[in-house]
């Protein structure tokens, strides 16, 4: 049911926009002051010039910077306008461009209105705004907010897009995969008024939903399969990745998800999954480099954790306070180290290999087996011990003991047992005269050496080996081990060599709502306290930051565009009330699926994405959300799409990371040890892109070409580049050539009997719509031309079909199949194939 008023192409000229809206400090003024003035006249007292700060109204007025109501008497305006270089602000040496006329006018109008300040939007307590009542009817509150603004601006939103685009968009957005043609047809023909709602539910329930959401989350927490620095050796963390997928699939509330990652190990009676979640704290970059100084890297790791926590949850730049107070936001130098202190209990080597981690059974069967092999070891040991005790009581137990064979003969060792002197002395005594302590000493000697006990000894060895062997086949993960906290000091200028700073205890940034008092008024806060504070109702940042990023996943841009900065220097939300409404909605239950359901059911989401030049001219960055946003798919989903369309995709969820095709020698610059990528075989080669082994210093090059990050640091917003390497990957990477080969085979098998029908079939599979006659013609031309060429040179056809592990069907002529590979390569390279409309 569409609820928007839809006037096709009701594109009004810019002049009909509402005339000059009132000045809003946060939206209009603070960005000017922040970027032009705060660097020298802001929160950081160390660099403050002329003891003047403009971020606090009283201070600025006292200093005469503004005379409320009188712009011409305000020093600020005079200083901006003066022609005297020594007086002009911002000074030339700041290299800041002079203020524009619009900016000056804004400041004048604001001073004339009384120079009123307001708090920065993201730092104010979160309150639920009222849902506006636009003239156009809307049942979804999101639409109400969007429409209210559009009505004010005199802009009409686009109509709901066609159903093909809609199911394709929704499938990519919720699962990272294109829909199957049969699903498209079913949806297009579904007469049920709830057809779309049904589709949303179906996709939200798909196990691939968790994978799609995990790709988003893993960028934030910088998940990778290698340590990062220098030798960049592998680390075992893939069970954490699977925990993330499962958490999204089971719709784990976000507050619980947060707590388990930050402090799962500290939860009372922590489950295995909660301990696995705590691997979050082990995802940072670490080093094994020889000559690295422990103290330096302890400081690096500490800062890395604060940076990531501050970005992922607080959505901002507390990292800027590592060396000094934040230049623009209220984060202090002390805040940085107070937050760092929360993580000081995490036990890890400062320098060196992270170790294999803890074996973690992935299934109940594995769990039972792990317990069985684990219990078998003490059982075998007890049996041996009992046998030995019984043995020494025997009358002839030590007869000829000196002739016993050595149970562990070394190469040059003696053939008979080595008897310790004290044992020899005891055995020399009359058995009746041995003290109980002496008798007890004979037990281990007999246990370890008596020939008749060999079967029991062998059983212990076998049990131990069975346990070790079994643990080797289990997945492993670097969990968080808590221990005595390291001392954390404020590092002056961030200098790890400087011990002069005060010792900091764990605490949250001082300008934000405080932690509840410690039980009993003493002790030390821990990560569990941090986690609970993070998602507490009073925290103004977290729900806003996360809701904003979730919005971005479905609309292409954040409501506040800077996903990595909720602070003063970030961009103002285009729809602040909407963002706060979403944040409060989310915060009530932290129900991620419910929030997403709300987003994708909105008419705003379902709009067309078609832009005309006029629309683009009016709102190029789509700040009004009067249309949907088109975007190239993320790196992983481009691979997934090719695999899915061609029928190669192995849909397995989770498990160890895999190694599909990668050019030989790509790892040549790695060392300690020198390595070559060992490609996997079988259907591991066809897993989704998110399972590809993530080597931080050399991430898979086909993924890098499409902007996959290195995951060394938090990535909130991948850039979307459009570069020639992308063409080279789609044209020449064996993974895409092989996909074309599989796609061609499938087309010949399932696409009908005639060329035209087959081309149409293949085209529809990739882009979900029917090819137009002109499009069909282009593809037919390639088919016919290459069919003839490959027929003339069948050896070329064989070479092309030799790409990839996949065997070609025996009932098809290679030259015929090769021509179809060309057609399928064209289709897999289309802009439309890799774009979400």
């Amino acid at each position: 049911m569409r609820t928007f008023l839809t006037l096709a192409c009701a594109l009004l000229p810019a002049s009909t926009f509402a005339a000059e809206p009132p000045i809003d400090f946060a939206r209009d003024v603070r960005p000017i002051l922040s970027s032009q003035c705060f660097q020298c006249h802001g929160p950081d007292e160390k660099v403050r010039k002329a003891k003047l700060r403009l971020d606090i109204r009283e201070d600025a007025i006292k200093a005469g910077v503004f005379v409320p109501g009188k712009p011409d008497e305000s020093e600020l305006i005079k200083r901006i306008h003066t022609t005297e270089p020594e007086l002009r602000m911002p000074p030339a040496k700041s290299k800041k461009p002079p203020l524009t006329e619009t900016q000056v006018n804004t400041l004048r109008r604001w001073i004339a209105d009384g120079a009123k300040y307001s708090e920065h939007w993201a730092f104010t307590p979160l309150k639920r705004p009222e849902v506006p009542k636009p003239q156009a009817q809307s049942t979804n509150p999101i639409d109400a907010f969007i429409l209210a603004r559009l009505e004010k601006e005199g802009v009409t939103p686009l109509k709901e897009t066609d159903r093909v685009t809609l199911i394709r968009r929704l499938s990519f957005d919720l699962t990272g995969l294109p829909p199957k043609p049969e699903d498209v047809r079913a949806f297009v023909n579904d007469k049920d008024p709830k057809a779309y709602e049904k589709l949303v539910e179906k996709l939200l329930a798909s196990p691939h939903y968790g994978e799609r959401m995990a790709v988003w989350w893993l960028d934030l927490v910088r998940y990778a399969d290698s340590a990062g620095y220098h030798s960049d050796n592998p680390i075992n963390v893939s069970p954490y990745r699977d925990y993330v997928i499962q958490s999204f699939n089971t719709n784990k509330p976000f507050d619980q998800f947060t707590t388990e990652q930050l402090a799962g190990d500290l939860l009372p009676n922590a489950t295995l999954q909660q301990k696995i979640a705590s691997a979050y704290n082990r995802l940072l970059q670490t080093t094994e480099e020889g000559g690295a100084q422990a103290k330096e890297y302890i400081a690096k790791y500490s800062a890395d954790r604060v940076r990531n926590y501050g970005q992922v949850w607080l959505g901002g730049t507390i990292m800027c306070a590592e060396c000094h107070n934040h230049k623009f936001d209220p984060y202090t130098h002390a805040d940085f180290y107070s937050v760092a202190a929360f993580f000081a209990d995490i036990q890890e080597p400062s320098i060196g290999n992270r170790g294999p981690g803890t074996p973690v059974p992935a299934t109940p069967e594995q769990q039972a087996e792990l317990k069985r092999v684990g219990d078998a070891v003490p059982a075998a040991q007890a049996k041996l011990e009992a046998a030995a005790t019984k043995y020494i009581a025997g009358a002839k137990a030590f007869e000829d003991y000196e002739k016993w064979p050595n149970p562990t003969p070394a190469k040059k060792g003696p053939a008979t047992v080595v008897v310790p002197a004290d044992v020899k002395a005891i055995l020399a005594k009359d058995p009746d005269k041995r003290t109980p302590a002496e008798v007890a000493k004979l037990v281990p000697f007999a246990r370890d050496n008596a020939p008749s006990l060999k079967p029991d000894r062998d059983a212990v060895v076998a049990a131990n080996k069975a346990k070790t062997d079994y643990e080797l086949v289990l997945p492993r993960v670097l969990m968080t081990q808590s221990g005595p906290p390291r001392v954390v000091r404020i590092l002056p200028r961030g200098n790890w060599l400087d011990d002069s700073g005060p010792i900091m205890k764990p605490n949250t940034p001082a300008f934000l709502p405080p932690l509840p008092p410690l039980a009993g008024g003493a002790g030390r806060y821990n990560r569990l306290d941090l986690a609970k504070w993070t998602t507490s109702a009073e925290n103004p940042l977290v729900a806003r930051a996360v809701a904003n990023r979730l919005w971005k996943l479905f609309f292409g841009y954040g409501i506040a565009r800077s996903l990595e900065e909720t602070g003063v220097q970030g961009e103002q939300p285009t729809h602040p009330e909407l963002l706060d409404w979403l944040a409060t909605e989310y915060q009530t239950k932290w129900d991620t699926k419910q929030l997403i359901r709300l987003l994708v059911l909105s008419s705003t989401y379902r709009q067309a994405s078609v832009e005309t030049p006029a629309v683009r001219e009016r709102d190029p960055m789509n700040k009004l959300f009067a249309r949907q946003t088109r975007a190239r798919l993320d790196a992983e989903f481009i691979r997934d799409t090719a695999l899915s369309v061609s029928g190669l995709l192995n849909p397995q969820i989770g498990g160890a990371s895999v190694k599909p095709y990668q050019p030989l020698g790509y790892w040549a610059a790695l060392n300690f040890p020198v390595r070559e990528w060992q490609k996997d075989t079988g259907d591991k080669v066809y897993r989704r892109g998110m399972y590809t082994h993530w080597q931080r210093t050399f991430p898979h090059p086909a993924m890098v070409a499409f902007d996959a990050p290195s995951r060394e640091e938090c990535t909130c917003d991948r850039p979307k580049s459009n570069i020639p390497q992308q063409a080279l990957v789609l044209l020449n990477d064996p993974e895409f050539v092989e996909a074309a080969k599989a796609f061609a085979s499938k087309t010949l098998k399932d696409g009908g009997a005639m060329d035209g029908a087959r081309v149409m079939w293949a085209f529809e599979r990739a882009v979900n719509r029917t090819a137009k006659p002109a499009e069909l013609e282009v593809l037919m031309e390639v088919l016919n031309k290459h069919r003839k060429q490959f027929a003339d040179k069948p050896e070329d056809a064989k070479k092309l079909l030799g790409v990839g592990d996949l065997a070609i069907p025996k009932d098809v002529k290679p030259e015929e199949l090769a021509a179809w590979v060309s057609v399928c390569r064209v289709i897999l390279n289309l802009h439309e194939t890799i774009t979400r409309q």
Binding site: Q293, A669, I723, Q725
Partner: protein, 472 residues
């Protein structure tokens, strides 16, 4: 094609009026520095140089592993005299230290003699046979210092001005700022070569990452083995004509789609496919040196693209001719914790001739004046001995060699203390190197910024001074 061109122009105009923020500027981002299909070379964000540029391009040579200044350019007679004595605590106390942690710190004499060359009397290791011929063209800075003592973060610092991962490298900054002159090669190219001594420290691809800058500014690695650029070669059995057919069909279908949806990204993508196709020819042509006169090949001491430093120097010159903006050569195997005497001899043999040949060759072609050459390690090495035959990592003082593009020849700048430990006179931090390089390319380092995380990021962070004393 004209319709497409017109469309592109219109779409671009629309976009440029509104490009307020680079990062996350989804969908339209690639038009920021358009690289059109018609051979037009990509522009940067700086349309008018901040200062008059002296250099058009940079050849940046990293002696990876940490080349010893004490065995290359920084002669320390006092250190020689004190060989075997304990280093004064006044110098070493409380200083960062790498593998010599908990070791006695003993002075270790320079392992080779030094000679002075040219009118300027440039001083260098006596083993150099070819470099002396161009001594008066070189500027040697002997007072450089860095902020990281381990290879990985030190490379990161050298390239990005920060040892925290995730900042753009200098080549990316440069192409972001002023684009490139080549229409069919990337603007930022990286080559690596190994040495014969087996001390090849790893080098992460982070070193040429564009980080938060648009992906097109990422460095492209040219490889000696396999595809020279990843995925450059057609699939087996696919001829050049057939590849062209595929690309043409993709372009035609993309254009039809553009007519329906009017998406500026489509025009860009069509251009990128054409560029990719051109690279399939231009890169092999670049790598294939058969058009080089034998005399030139001999002067560098190379027989062709074999992944050696000599070959890479010649490739660098070929790329310089074709308008590549930033050419970065990593020559590995300088990590002389032991056996430095023989090790340095090997290294000098590897770099001496090609380095001198490059200077002379650029002069011959009239390109020396506008090609900036920089040669440096990611750090230097300790005046203290490691194990009696080597030196440890050292960040407080080392040498950088500069030449060409606006650099004054025959200049010695700055000095370390008498031990070669601390840069003492006219200290030259890496940020100053970056500021000076950008200046030579016409860029004010404080004005080449990119907003990310609410901050205007720069290559020089909040530091950097242009060192005018070394400018011609």
């Amino acid at each position: 094609m004209t319709t497409l061109e017109a469309l592109k122009l219109h779409q671009r105009r629309t976009f440029l009026t509104n490009s307020c923020r680079g990062v996350g500027a989804l969908a339209l981002s690639s038009l920021l520095t358009p690289r059109a299909a018609n051979g037009e070379s990509p522009r940067g964000v700086i349309l008018k140089p901040h200062v008059a540029p002296k250099a058009k391009r940079v050849i940046f040579m990293v002696m990876a592993g940490g080349a010893s200044h004490l065995e290359l350019f920084d002669n320390k007679p006092e250190l020689k005299k004190r060989n075997g004595e304990v280093m004064p605590e006044s110098i070493t106390k409380g200083q960062p230290i790498a593998q010599l942690q908990n070791n006695k710190l003993i002075c270790f004499a320079p392992q080779w003699g030094f000679k002075k060359h040219g009118k300027s009397g440039q001083e260098m290791n006596e083993l150099f046979k070819f470099l002396p011929e161009v001594a008066d063209d070189l500027c040697i800075v002997r007072s450089c210092k860095t902020e990281a003592i381990n290879h990985d973060p030190a490379h990161t610092f050298m390239n990005t001005g920060s040892s925290v991962s995730g900042r753009p490298s200098m080549g990316s900054w440069l192409t972001y700022g002023i684009g490139a002159e080549s229409a069919d090669l990337p603007g930022f190219v990286v080559l690596t070569s190994n040495g014969r001594g087996g001390q090849n420290q790893p080098i992460a691809s982070r070193q040429w990452s564009a980080a938060f800058l648009p992906g097109k500014h990422q460095g492209v690695q040219l490889r000696g083995k396999g595809d020279p650029v990843l995925y450059l070669t057609n699939p087996p059995g696919v001829g050049s004509d057939q590849q062209k057919d595929v690309i043409d069909a993709v372009a035609k279908l993309n254009q039809m789609q553009n007519a329906a949806v009017d998406d500026p990204e489509i025009a860009t993508r069509i251009g990128q496919y054409e560029l990719a196709f051109k690279m399939q020819t231009s890169v092999p042509n670049l790598m294939d040196m058969k058009d080089e006169p034998a005399k030139v090949m001999e002067s560098y001491g190379t027989k062709g693209s074999d992944g050696s430093f000599a070959a890479n120097c010649l490739l660098a010159r070929r790329m310089a001719q074709k308008g590549v903006r930033f050419i970065q050569l990593y020559h590995r195997d300088w990590d002389h914790h032991g056996g430095i005497k023989d090790g340095i001899k090997l290294k000098i043999e590897e770099i001496d001739q090609p380095l001198a040949a490059l200077v002379k060759d650029l002069k011959r072609l009239g390109m020396f004046e506008d090609t900036l050459i920089v040669l440096t390690g990611e750090f230097g090495r300790t005046p203290m001995s490691q194990g009696g035959s080597g030196r440890d990592h050292h960040m407080k003082g080392f040498s950088v060699l500069l030449a060409g593009g606006g650099i004054k020849g025959g200049v010695s700048y700055g000095a370390t203390d008498e031990f070669g430990y601390n840069a003492e006179e006219k200290v030259f931090p890496i940020h100053d190197l970056h500021a000076t390089m950008l200046h030579l390319l016409g860029i004010d380092h404080e004005r080449l910024t990119y907003k990310f995380q609410g901050r205007d990021y720069r290559l020089t962070d909040v530091h950097g001074h242009v060192v005018k004393d070394i400018l011609a």
